[in-house]
Amino acid sequence: MQDNRTIVRLLRAGDEDCYHALFRRYYKPLCTYATRFVTLDRAEELVQDTMMWLWEHRTTLLPEMPLKSLLFTIVKNKSINSASRHTVRNRIFRELAQTCEEEFDDPDFYLEGELMRRLNEALDKLPAEFRQTFRMHRLEGMTHREIAAALHVSPQTVNYRIGQTVRLLREELREYWPLIALVLGSRLS
């Protein structure tokens, strides 16, 4: 991507190709970011509104204003004002969320997607049925029992597959555990 000033200049001049490129670059990361707070459908709505706002207000953009920050800030504000998805259940969830907050709030986490790519690669090393079980496990509304029924296996099997998958992923992504995990580890100790 070229530098911010060039992009803003092109946008201000009404360059649709530039807008299209910008859309391709930001749309998915912005949606991914918004799904922290809202469902995917709502996330897509919010992000489309934001991208349309960008086009309609292109002449008011300032070259010094980083589009990355602008877009992520708008999407964040819109998402937070929308119904919140993660009802923080208790102290422990709050602590876990807080220690990851900085990392998960960083646009580059979504734009560069290095960690997501690594996770996908690691998942690819697993047998297909493990992968499928693990993905279903976190899809909304699917309990272990429901997955077991859908896949015609026992709940114990579902449990085992999920456990093995988590073990493997922890191992594969070991080098990516950031310092922030250490912060959590040393708290209160």
Partner: protein
């Protein structure tokens, strides 16, 4: 319970909310027991978060979304031709300038934690933002709010200029302090409006709900406590404070809805107010007119020319438009 064991399976189940109360308690006790345990649960939390994001967004179709936006933009621009002239005034207000000064642009985490969040507005704009702690803030024309707090700090500090209305997220353990022009307002969780009138050396604080403490910056000894529906006038020169009851406290935040409300105000006061919102200079050709009094409710979107024409309906004065200025003269 006998066969309950803490392992990857049960920890993942815990995070997915699938354990019963007794099992949850066991995991929580385990979590509190050692840093290594906390780290282990933290890692799994992070894995599941990543997996959730991948799951969530796997079915996104970027090109379809793009086509959808293009179609809607075309429709909107056709419709807006008709109402463009009506919208000119609101367009300025719609440009929300929310700039995260630090955070996402900074590289190191140390910088990230210390960089403030800045929200500001230009002349004629209004804006609303949610600060990182959940506090909602509305900014009136030409105002600025700067929020500094780290995740691990207990203090929430805000510097502001201009006029802003705060709905502070309650946190008994983290006092929220607003500093403006030599005045500190300390709160726990509450709603209040602060307005700076720099040329009058005056800060007006109106408390709508809750309780706040006001003191000259760094002089907490002499703090005054406001009750709801009270107004504090602070003279920024003499540091004098004056506390009064104000039954119409809610009126102080009319501006967040884009409303002006004048109640037996002098034309001079009204003109000062209009100058804050519109990029127009209003001149008195006859000083006696400054003391005329008017009442009325307007919307910012009405525009300055509409407001002037309504005030003029009283036939107490006349006005003419000269380039970008308005001149007020006697009949």
């Amino acid at each position: 319970m006998a066969d309950f064991e803490i392992n990857e399976e049960t920890l993942a189940a815990y995070l997915s909310g699938e354990l019963d109360a007794e099992q949850r308690a066991a995991v929580e006790a385990w979590y509190d027991a050692s840093p290594a345990n906390r780290r282990r649960l933290g890692e799994i939390y992070r894995l599941l978060y990543l997996n959730d994001r991948i799951n969530d967004t796997a079915r996104i179709d970027v090109e379809k979304a793009y086509e959808n936006c293009r179609t809607r933009l075309r429709e909107r621009s056709r419709r807006s031709m008709w109402i463009r002239s009506l919208k000119r005034v609101t367009a300025a207000a719609a440009v929300v300038v929310v700039l995260l000064a630090g955070g996402w642009m900074a590289r190191s985490s140390v910088e990230r934690l210390t960089q403030p969040v800045v929200v500001y507005t230009q002349v004629g704009e209004r804006s609303q933002a949610v600060l990182p702690d959940g506090t909602k803030v509305w900014l009136n024309s030409s105002s600025r709010v700067e929020y500094a707090a780290s995740f691990f700090s207990r203090k929430r500090r805000v510097k502001m200029e201009g006029e802003a209305y705060f709905e502070v997220a309650h946190d008994r353990h983290a006092p929220f302090v607003v500093t403006t022009n030599g005045l500190d307002i300390r709160v726990l969780g509450t709603r209040f409006n602060i307005r700076n009138d720099e040329d009058k050396h005056l800060i007006t604080t109106v408390l709508l709900e809750g309780s706040v403490e006001a003191s000259a910056t760094d002089e907490r000894g002499s703090a005054l406590r406001l009750r709801p529906s009270q107004q504090l006038l602070f003279d920024t020169d003499t540091k004098n404070m004056q506390l009064t009851d104000i039954p119409t406290a809610e009126r102080s935040i009319n501006w967040i809805y884009g409303r002006f409300s004048f109640e037996h105000n002098t034309l001079e006061e009204i003109v000062e107010e209009l100058n804050r919102y519109y990029n127009v200079d209003i001149h008195f050709k006859d000083d006696a007119l400054r003391q005329l009094r008017f009442s009325g409710d307007f919307q910012v979107e009405d525009g300055i020319y509409h407001i002037m024409s309504v005030l003029q309906l009283t036939y107490k004065f006349n006005y003419r438009i000269v380039d970008n200025d308005i001149e007020i003269y006697a009949n």
